[in-house]
């Protein structure tokens, strides 16, 4: 750990090796017309067994690698798999249309919803257009604009979080990145519509929080949510971003740590070996979970739901309260 040169995906090597052997056997079976299906089945079993072992004890840093895997299903994949009849709505009506956040109307489980989803893109061209998933102020403003629409017309809001962080650049600062993020956070805390958020990959700091102040915040098993990137944390602590693996542990950014801290409400399991190995299955799991969660929050009267959301955020934090009697009054 802590070695910048080591491939952080080394942990997957045993699995990849077995998968290679399976592929070899399959191709041999085809060419030679010899039945080795028993051997193949055995290897599959071995592969699953190894995956269960490996994936049950991933380090925080290894999970961060999975969260960033370019083959991991992203927002557009999920729109194709689980959200029906998607009708995209563009633009913030003030500056532009940020491609790093997709917003639109769609249906899931017979319910009409508003979807707000951070997008990283798949091809190089898409990735550039999306700034690798880092939204600008106009993206956050677009998200809020559409959430207001949902509020007015009584639609629940679903948000998918996947960003390394809000974009760090000149234009973003000129257009008030901090102020716009603050505005989103405030407005979501009192939005009169049910809000369900899922961190599907990276949950990078304020840039993630700006679309996930929610009644329910869920996180996929191999996603993360953090106040700062592990690399950024390592640079501050050791002036060495190569120590990111150590920083990732310290930050308690993994789903089950976040659950213990009361930051997230539920961890959604991924298919064996991670979402990138079976996007279709991941889509099915996520869809079922979204419907289940929406059923729960969408039937709560809105006044009660907003009050509950307020209470939820009001109580987050860890501190000690020293008895007042032990304190001398201070005047300045």
């Amino acid at each position: 750990m802590g070695d910048a040169k080591a491939d952080p995906r080394d942990f997957e090597k045993p699995i990849l090796e077995i998968e290679q052997r399976i592929a070899d056997l399959e191709s041999f079976q085809r060419k030679a017309s010899v039945d080795v299906s028993a051997e193949i089945a055995k290897l599959h079993e071995e592969c699953d067994q190894r995956m269960r072992e490996i994936y049950s004890q991933l380090t925080a840093w290894q999970r961060v690698q999975l969260a960033r895997d370019p083959n991991r299903p992203g927002s557009l994949d999920y729109i194709g798999m689980i959200f029906e009849d998607f009708l995209e709505l563009h633009g913030d009506k003030a500056y532009g249309d940020d491609k790093a956040i997709v917003t639109g109307l769609c249906r899931i489980g017979g319910r009409r919803i508003l979807l707000v989803a951070q997008r990283k893109g798949k091809t190089t061209k898409e990735r550039m257009a999306c700034n690798f998933g880092s939204p600008h102020p106009e993206g956050y403003r677009k998200a809020l604009e559409k959430m207001k629409l949902a509020e007015k017309f009584g639609l629940p809001v679903v948000t998918l979080v996947n960003t390394p962080g809000a974009y760090p650049g000149i234009g973003a600062e000129e257009r008030g990145q901090a102020v716009i993020i603050a505005r989103n956070i405030l407005e979501m805390s009192r939005l009169r519509a049910p809000i369900l958020s899922v961190v599907i990959g990276e949950g990078g700091s304020g840039g993630a929080l700006a679309i996930c102040v929610a009644d329910r915040l869920c996180i996929l098993e191999n996603a993360y949510f953090s106040v700062i990137s592990p690399e950024g944390c390592a640079s501050i602590l050791w002036r060495d971003s190569g120590k990111a693996s150590v920083a990732a542990e310290l930050l308690k950014l993994s789903p089950h740590d976040l659950l213990d801290l009361g930051i997230v409400d539920e961890v959604i399991p991924e298919p064996l070996g991670g979402a990138h190995r079976n996007p279709q299955r991941m889509g099915e799991i996520l869809k079922a979970k979204l419907i289940e969660q929406l059923d729960q929050i969408d039937r709560v009267p809105i006044d009660r739901l907003v009050e509950r959301r307020y209470r939820k955020y009001r109580q987050i934090g860890r501190y000690q309260e020293i008895e007042l009697a032990k304190l001398a009054p201070t005047q300045a």
């Binding site: 809000a166 760090p168 650049g169 000149i170 973003a172 600062e173 000129e174 257009r175 008030g176 990145q177 901090a178 102020v179 993020i181 603050a182 505005r183 956070i185 405030l186 407005e187 805390s189 009192r190 700091s205 304020g206 929080l209 102040v213 949510f225 953090s226 106040v227 700062i228 950024g232 944390c233 501050i236 602590l237 050791w238 920083a247 310290l250 930050l251 308690k252 950014l253 976040l258 801290l261 930051i263 959301r309 307020y310 955020y313 009001r314 987050i316 934090g317 860890r318 501190y319 000690q320 309260e321 020293i322 008895e323 007042l324 032990k326 304190l327 009054p329 201070t330 005047q331 300045a332």
Partner: protein
Amino acid sequence: MAFEKIRNLLGRKKSLPGGLWMKCPDCIGMIYRKEMEERKLVCPACNYHFTMTPQERIHLLLDEESFTRMWSNLEPVDALNFEGVTSYKQKLEAAQKETGERDAVWAGVGRLEGRPLVFGLTDSRFMMGSMGSVVGETIARAFEFATERRLPVVFVSGSGGGARMYEGALSLMQMAKSSATIARFQEAGGLYISVLTNPTMAGVMASFAALGDVLVAEPKALIGFTGPRVIEQTIRQELPKGFQTSEFLLEHGFVDLIVERPKLRREVARLIEYLT
């Protein structure tokens, strides 16, 4: 998080050092200490606004002897068991020893030109004014108290550190907590004047500091989301002069007014007179 550059910009860590003269970190000029105190810690040569201690800030803005501090009994805890080069516990101990405070926030009630209000500040000397659970909780209580008593709030931010890394996502969530209580306060008709001082960055600027009904900035303060060094590294070019200063924010429409420190008390009072 925005730690870079800020250390230099802070210039002065504790109260004024002894000696007759002090050095301006911005123009490197030497200033006669007594003159500096009369000028409310503003450099006569370049208008650089030195960091004020909480006591100096309270003295600057509130009526004499009018401030009563509240919620100062909240003590930070190391919920993550954070062990770095220096652990969170060590960091806290050092900051507590240096400032004599439990954490980076002050809040309470006071008067400004006779008008009662809730007053608070973040102390940039304490872990760069960063927001962890104690800062978030204190702000939440201050706004709840102001809502109950129907008092205006004046809050002075000086937080280069943003959300405090050492409390992980708990710090991040303080952005939501503080913002949610401000929403309720403002819905109830409360007036919140946010005063931005050098530096106010990242998670603090992206939550409670930006949410004032009126945003007032001191001149030349560093204000923004991402720290300048991180931006430079990302875009691989030098940043324009004056980037992320109060004047930059004014030009781009994100603060209502810039007020020089000697006029700050009167201008805040005028705002309250107009709006309450």
